[in-house]
């Protein structure tokens, strides 16, 4: 059996889930023995090629049109899509802004912040992506595997990767199942 090809990307998250992935320490050698890591935000190659991958991993919620593109592209290119971390699974910390309107959030971020002077201005360049309500990954594309946690424990991530590498869909339970 050829090594399964794996690709990862991040959206509206803090990159903590990828840090937790690196936290598997020397076991990363085992993972690389088992899988073919094609692209990720922490490797030179950022996007999977057109031929696609077996497993796509996404961190973060979806809070603008750019994230939507990332999610849709990853879904199109992967056989199995993994939502990694609370933001991808539930919306997480970014989703807390859903309790306010987008205008309120932007005003707070670009104008009302304590460190902003009178020149504060909400960016309006037409080339920028458009902010949306923050959504969990499953609200935008179908998801196959949910790995909750803020961030998921390194052990849980290693368990998920090793199960996927061996051709099984991981079933998270007991100490691997933690929402935070």
């Amino acid at each position: 059996m050829p090594k399964p090809k794996v690709s990862s990307d991040w959206m509206a998250g803090c990159s903590g889930c990828h840090m937790s992935f690196l936290d598997i320490d020397e076991r990363i050698a085992t993972v690389l023995d088992l899988v073919d890591l094609r692209s990720s935000p922490i490797t030179d190659l950022k996007h999977p090629d057109e031929t696609g991958v077996d497993v796509g991993i996404l961190e973060g919620g979806i809070n603008n049109t750019s994230n939507e593109e990332v999610a849709i592209r990853m879904r199109k290119h992967s056989k199995i899509l993994v939502a990694l971390g609370d933001c991808a699974v539930f919306g997480g910390v970014p989703a807390m802004r859903n309790f306010f309107t987008i205008e309120e959030s932007l005003r707070r971020a670009y104008i009302e912040t304590e460190s902003t002077d009178s020149s504060g201005k909400i960016p309006d360049d037409p080339e920028l992506c458009v902010p949306t309500r923050v959504r969990a990954l499953q609200e935008v594309v179908p998801v196959d595997v949910f790995v909750p946690g803020c961030p998921p424990d390194a052990d849980a991530i290693f368990f998920v990767l090793s199960e996927l590498a061996q051709g099984r869909i991981p079933v998270l339970k007991d100490k691997n199942l933690m929402w935070q």
């Binding site: 939502a83 609370d86 699974v89 539930f90 919306g91 997480g92 910390v93 989703a95 807390m96 859903n98 309790f99 309500r133 959504r135 969990a136 499953q138 609200e139 949910f146 790995v147 909750p148 803020c150 079933v171 998270l172 339970k173 199942l177 933690m178 929402w179 935070q180």
Partner: protein, 654 residues
């Protein structure tokens, strides 16, 4: 008995048992959220759904009574799917994003239930409707966004405490937990007992002092007894790295069955007084830090010539909140060795002296126990506000009122229970003997006396009623309430005169009522048994020794003691008196020392220390033993003989 099968297992339980409890008795686990063993089943969350053969839909097992031959399944695919669906609905109703919540990671029953069902996510997203957060209360934060509408808090507030502060407004998804009629919790009728926080399955009712300080898995739990007052409730003290995290009512405690009041739950956490950490000795007019040896030597030098002097020797005052062993050592040192005529407690016998005198006069205990209180269908409360002190006794009375129990409050002052009373008698300055005599007359007049009350003439009855100080109609109402009650209880507090108490006991006798004195501090009864009941009055005493423990000295005591020529204060916290003292001895708080406490119903209870005291302080007993050694006195712990040596108002046991 009813026979049924659950998961093909034959089960036999008493008639009327719920399917949930039947399953539990057979060792079959059914997950629950709104259900609580100490509250009436409500059937609100639907997590406990089970499959009952012949039933049209899944049934909530917490409210469903067993029937003969019932066939129940708790683990079918349909049930498991329903559980996940129920949890999904609850999660998507409000803000249940775990990373922000202090109960996440083991303390949240909702999260634990989802983990138990192996849920990695929930398929429905919330509608992002924000709900109000009420942080107006000094101890409790009401976070409606995390509420799952299980109404445990509402039921605890009503059923366990009888306070009925919490309730819901609106319906369905808009349901909102509110205090009273929607006022901020901090200005509501809440009495801060915290029972709502203790039963909340999620983080919706938050104890602001303990939130984020540590989870159940990270703390050490000590089962002990509250020394806040004479009730002596069972408590669990949660400590992490010697930091007080939280105090909870012990559900297993026979006395209070999980409920406690703010004195035990919140006040030790909100402590703001200055902790005393080193002995202080006054030198050249100023209090300076000293060693224990210096402090003891100073006391010894001053006290040595005063041994055996009665009215110009050492006056001594002890807090009734100290462990019995310490109170006993105090009594031995100052009453037996120094032979001072003024050795007393901070209570000065206010709660106990009349009852103690009566018990010794009659030669037998006359008071009932908390069981009589809990079973009472009529409570007559004399001169004590059970919302301001001895609150748990108040809970026992208040929670019976919705079940038909009646309340009569006899208090010259405004009483917090007036509003719940059928009759609130307001006369004179204290509970007058005449008033009780008037009630006795009205009872005889109404034919409510259960034992023959002979020898009372018509004219005596008439004059008693007219001298009572309140309207005959009110007395008649009280008499008719007593007449129709089966298990009346009289509760009296402090300041009752011996004459009035005698009348009250007579009234209890002729009406077959029980009578209970609340007593005062945690060792009020023991202090009374040790004879520490005289009034504080300094006349010629050359020195004063005051041991306060965790008690804050009252204005009255400060006024009495501050004029002492030489003042020694033993206390855990700084006060106006430690500032005035000549020697200050830093002692342990009640949470830091083991000890024995005799509660209001005469139960001898052991308290275990839950915190390690700061270095440089000593336990009250250690201080008395060390001080005794300075005078070659051994502080034997033979207190049992003294405690039970004379007749007490209640049977002392345990």
């Amino acid at each position: 008995m009813t026979k049924l099968t659950i998961n093909n297992k034959p089960v036999e339980v008493a008639e009327g048992t719920t399917v949930l409890n039947a399953a539990r008795s057979a060792g079959i686990e059914i997950p629950t959220l709104c259900e609580h063993p100490h509250l009436t089943p409500y059937g609100g969350c639907r997590l406990c759904l089970v499959d009952v053969e012949g039933a049209r839909t899944l049934q909530p097992s917490c409210t469903l009574p067993v029937t003969e031959g019932m066939v129940v399944k708790t683990d079918t695919d349909k049930v498991l799917a329903a559980r996940k669906f129920v949890l999904t609905l609850i999660f998507s109703e409000r803000n249940h994003f775990c990373p922000f919540c202090q109960v996440s990671g083991g303390d949240c029953e909702l999260q634990n239930a989802a983990y138990h069902e192996g849920m990695t996510h929930w398929p429905l997203q919330p509608n992002w409707q924000p709900f109000p957060v009420d942080a107006s209360h000094p101890y409790i934060v009401m976070e409606n966004n995390r509420c799952i509408l299980c109404r445990r808090c509402v039921r605890a507030c009503g059923e366990l405490v009888g306070n009925f502060t919490l309730g819901f407004e609106e319906r369905g998804a808009r349901s909102l937990l509110v205090a009273d009629l929607g006022v901020p919790l901090g200005s509501s009728s809440c009495i801060s007992c915290g029972s709502c926080v203790q039963v909340c399955p999620t983080g919706a009712m938050l104890d602001r002092w303990s939130a984020y300080r540590g989870r159940e898995t990270q703390v050490e739990k000590t089962q002990t007894v509250c020394a806040g007052c004479s009730v002596g409730c069972g408590i669990d003290v949660l400590v992490r790295d010697n930091n007080l995290v939280r105090i909870e009512g012990n559900w297993g405690a026979v006395l209070n069955e999980g409920v406690i009041c703010k004195v035990g739950r919140f006040e030790p956490l909100a402590e703001e007084r200055n902790r005393l950490l080193t002995p202080l000795v006054r030198k050249d007019g100023k209090l300076k830090a000293a060693t224990w040896e210096e402090a003891f030597d100073t006391i010894q030098a001053k006290f040595s010539p005063l041994v055996g002097k009665k009215n110009d020797g050492v006056a001594a005052v002890v807090s009734t909140g100290l462990p019995l062993e310490s109170v006993y050592a105090f009594k031995k040192l100052f009453a037996d060795y120094f032979q001072s005529d003024m050795v007393t407690s901070t209570e000065e016998g206010d709660y106990t002296s009349s009852a103690s005198a009566f018990a010794q006069g009659s030669g037998k205990p006359f008071e009932g126990t908390r069981k009589d209180l809990q079973n009472a269908d009529l409570a007559l409360v004399f001169g004590i506000d059970l919302v301001k002190e001895h609150e748990v006794v108040g809970f026992f009375i208040k929670r019976n009122i919705p079940n038909g129990a009646k309340l009569v409050v006899i208090d010259p002052a405004v009483n917090s229970l007036d509003i719940l009373a059928e009759v609130a008698l307001k006369t004179g300055k204290t509970v007058e003997t005449n008033l009780v005599q008037g009630i006795i007359a009205a009872v005889i007049n109404a034919g409510a006396a259960r034992t023959a009350a002979s020898g009372v003439s018509e004219s005596e009855i008439k004059s008693s009623i007219s001298n009572a100080g309140c309207s005959p109609a009110e007395l008649d109402k009280v008499a008719s309430l007593i007449k129709s009650a089966e298990r009346p209880v009289f509760v009296y507090g402090k300041g009752i005169s011996e004459d009035t108490l005698k009348k009250l006991i007579h009234l209890a006798e002729i009406t077959n009522s029980k009578i209970i004195g609340t007593k005062g501090g945690a060792n009020s009864l023991a202090s009374s048994q040790f004879g520490l009941e005289s009034r504080i009055k300094l006349n010629g005493h050359q020195a004063v020794y005051a041991a306060f423990g965790s008690e804050e000295p009252s204005q009255h005591i400060i006024q009495q003691l501050e004029k002492a020529p030489f003042l020694v204060v033993q206390s855990a916290y700084g006060s106006a008196l430690t500032a005035r003292a000549d020697v200050v001895l830093p002692s342990f708080t009640w949470l830091e020392q083991d000890g024995t406490y005799v509660n209001f119903e005469g139960n001898i209870q052991k308290a275990a220390k839950s915190l390690i005291a700061p270095e440089g302080t000593k336990s009250d007993l250690e201080i008395f033993v060390a001080l005794g050694a300075k005078f070659d006195q051994k502080m034997d712990s033979d207190w049992m003989k003294q405690l039970t040596g004379k007749v007490a108002p209640v049977v002392i046991q345990g």
